[in-house]
Symmetry: C2
Subunit: 459 residues, 2 copies
Amino acid sequence: MCRAHLLEPAAAELLATELRQIVGDGNVLSDPALTASFGHDLTGRFNGRPALVVSPGDTAEVAAVVQACAAAQAPLVPQGGHSGMVGGGTPRDGEVVLSLRRLTAIEPVDRVAAQVTVGAGVTLEAFQRFLRPLDLEFLVDHGGRSAATLGGMAATNAGGSQAMRHGMMRDQVAGVEAVLADGSVLSRLRGLAKDNTGYDLTGLLVGSEGTLGVITRLRLRVAPLRPKRVTILAGVESLDGALAVLELLQSRVPSVQAVDFFEQAGLRRVREHLQLPAPFEREYPTYLVIECAGRTDPADELDGLLAVVADAVAADDPEGRRGLWRYREALNETVTSLGIPHKLDVSVPVASLPRFAREVRDVIAAVDSEAELIFYGHLGDGNAHVNVVGPAPDDLRIDEAVLELVASLDGSISAEHGVGLAKTQWLSLTRSAPEIRAMREIKAALDPRGVLNPGRLMP
Amino acid sequence: MCRAHLLEPAAAELLATELRQIVGDGNVLSDPALTASFGHDLTGRFNGRPALVVSPGDTAEVAAVVQACAAAQAPLVPQGGHSGMVGGGTPRDGEVVLSLRRLTAIEPVDRVAAQVTVGAGVTLEAFQRFLRPLDLEFLVDHGGRSAATLGGMAATNAGGSQAMRHGMMRDQVAGVEAVLADGSVLSRLRGLAKDNTGYDLTGLLVGSEGTLGVITRLRLRVAPLRPKRVTILAGVESLDGALAVLELLQSRVPSVQAVDFFEQAGLRRVREHLQLPAPFEREYPTYLVIECAGRTDPADELDGLLAVVADAVAADDPEGRRGLWRYREALNETVTSLGIPHKLDVSVPVASLPRFAREVRDVIAAVDSEAELIFYGHLGDGNAHVNVVGPAPDDLRIDEAVLELVASLDGSISAEHGVGLAKTQWLSLTRSAPEIRAMREIKAALDPRGVLNPGRLMP
C-alpha cells in the first residue's frame, strides 16, 4: 500500500492546480510568503514550511480536497485557529495545510433540543457572542477563545476551566459531520438525545486530532444562560490548603464551575508583563480563581466559605470578573513572552497534585538548576500546566523527566492539549501496549494510506 | 482469514475441556438442560441452543477464555443479566455464551474523584444498594434494575428515565477494562478527569454491544445522594399537552430528572395485569410520570406548575414514589404477559413525538387492523417504546413500517436498546453508508476473525 509522503515541487504544483479548480484560485496559497504564517505555532516550538495551504468553503469542497490529496498521496494537516500547543495542527515541511477557517456558518438555534449546528471554523468567541443575546451559553470555555475554532476544539477534545462541572468538548458535542480519508462524508447532525445504533463515531472523532477525519460541522449542546456569576480571587498558603477549599466548594457550593490555581512566581511574571497591580497587600504561595454560576445568586452558597481562605476578593460584574481572570489567563502569553517554553500539560489524581507540585520542582532542578518553572492549572481536574523556560527547546530531558514523574503518579501525559507532534514518543507512559495497538488498528482501518495528519498522536 | 463459525459437537467437547481447565469444571456448562435458560431472552423473541456456557471468575480467566475461543474459531456471545431486548446477548444455536455474572466485585469508593470501580457482573440494583448507605447514587436507572448488570448496561449504553438530565451510560462511565478479541486486556480505570492521549476507546467500547471487546470492569461516576425527591403522576389530554408540561418543567424546574409518558390503553393493561387501582377518578388519554430530585425540596420549584395539568398526584416517600412509578415500569412485563410482542424502541426529535404517535397508529393498523399497540416512553428524550401484540412474531411488516416512519421523521431505529440481532437489517435507515462502512472497518480491525458477538449490531 502506498502511503502519504512529502510532495516534490512539481507534484505540489500539479496538486495546487487541481485544488484551485475545487476551491477557487484565491483559496489555494503556495507562495511561501503567504503560507509561512500557517507554519508557525503560537508557542514558537513548531515550525514548518507547508507545500500548500487550501481553504475550502463548504463540506463538499473539503471532501473533494481530501480526495485529491489522497490521490496525490499528499499528507494533509487540518488546521482551525492554529492555537494548539502540541503541534497537532502545525505542518511540517512539505505538508499540505487544510484550513477550516472559512466554515463559519452558524445555523438557527434548535430551542427544543437546546442545540446549534455550527461550522468547524467558528471561533469560540464568535459563538459566545452569537449565544449571549439569545440568553444561551456554551459550557466549554478557555483563555484561547479568540483564536480557537470549535472544530479544532472538538478535534482536540478541548477542556478548560469549567470542565470540572461541565466536562470537556466530547460532553458538549451532540454530533459531527466529518470528511473521512476516502473523501466520504460522515454526518451525525440529528442531535437525537438517544441513538443506540452502533459505534460512537462522534465520540471517536472528537479528540482524534485530525487523524481519522476532518470535522466540518458540529452539533453543539447549549444551555440557558445562568445570569448570576461570581468570580473570586483568593490567596492560600499551599496547594494542600487549596485542596481543602476545593473540597468545601464541591460539597457545599453546587454553583461552582471553575477552581483554577497558580503560584506566586507566575503572578509576579504576569504583573511584570502586563503592568498589573498586586491583588492583595501581601503575597501568597498559591492563588485560586473560583467561579460560580447559577440562576440564583451564588453569594448565599458562598456565605462563610471565604473565611477559610487567607485573603479573597470577589467580583460579580463582567469587567470585574474579567479583571480577576486576567491574572490567571494571561499566564500563557506571559510564558511565551519569556522565550520558547517547554509546555507540559498533564493530569494526576487530584489528591496527588500537591505531591506532584513538590516533586516536579526537584525533577526539573535536577536537569537544569537555572530553569524557571511556571506552574498553574485546573485544580478540580488535577490538571497542571508545567511551563519551563530556560533550557533549549530541543533539550527534551526536562520533558522526559516531568512526564515520567506524571506516569509514576498514575497520571496522564496530556490532560487537555492532546498528543500532537510533541508527545508521541511518550504516549506509552499513559497508554498500554494493547491500547496503542488498538489505536493503530483503528487508524489503519479508517486511513490506510496515512493521509490525515500523519505522524501525530501515535508514535 | 478464517472466521468464527458454529462448532461441531466434537470441537465443542474439545473446547469445553480446555475451558474447564481455565475456569474450573463447575463453570462450564454443556448439558442442554443447564444451558437452556441462557438461550431464551425475556421477551420470548430470541431463542438459541448454546454449545457451551462459560463463566470466568476474573479478568485473567476472561482473557484466557477469549483466546481459547478465538483459537477454536468459536463465536462468543458475552452475556450479563440477559435482560436485553434485541437479542444482543442471546446465543444462536451452537454459539458459546461468555457469562460475566461472576464478576461481582465492588471496590472501595474513591471519594475525591467520586468514582467506583465495579465488576461487569454487578447488577444495577446491587450497586444502588451498595451506594445508598454511603449517601451516594448512580445516575442511570431503569425498570430492569434487578437483572441488568452494569457491564451489560455499558456494553449497550443503557439509557432509562433519567437520561434527559444525566445522560446515558457513556456519560457515567469514566473508564473500562475490557478483553479484546486477541485476548489482550485493555485497561482504562484510572478515572482521570482529563486525559487527552488518543482515541476514546472507553466511549467506543460503551455501546459496541460486545462486538469489539468484553467489558470486565468499569470505573463509574457516582454523585452525592440528593435526598429530596418528588414523584408526580399526572393525567393530560394529549401528547401535545404533555410537551407543554415538559417545556415548563425544563425552563422552570432545574431538579426535574425524568418525564416519562404512557397512554390510557397501556394503563388499562397494567391495571388488569397487576390488579392496581385507578390513579384518578376519570381516565386520561396520556399520563406522565415526573420525577424531581435535589438537595433542597423540589416542591418550591413545582409550585403552581401542576395547575397546568388536568389531574395530578404526588409522593415524596420511597413507597409512595415506587407506587406511582409502578404504573409506568410495569408496562414492559405487562406487554410480555400478553404474548410475544414486536418491541420497537425508537427516538424522534422531541417536537415530532406527537406526530409520530398519531402516524404510528395508522401505519400499524394498515398492516394489521387487529394489532394492539402499547405506546410509552421517555418524553424528554423523544424516546418511544412501540410495543405491538397480535401479529406473528416472525411477521416483520409491522417492524419495517414503524422503523420506516421513524426514519422519515429523522429519528433513530434504536434509542436505547441497541441493534442486537433484532435490527441489523434496518440499520441503514438511521446510519449512512459511510458510517456503516466505518463501523465495519473498525470491527474488522479489532476483531478480524469475527469471534466477538458475530452477526450483532451490523448487517
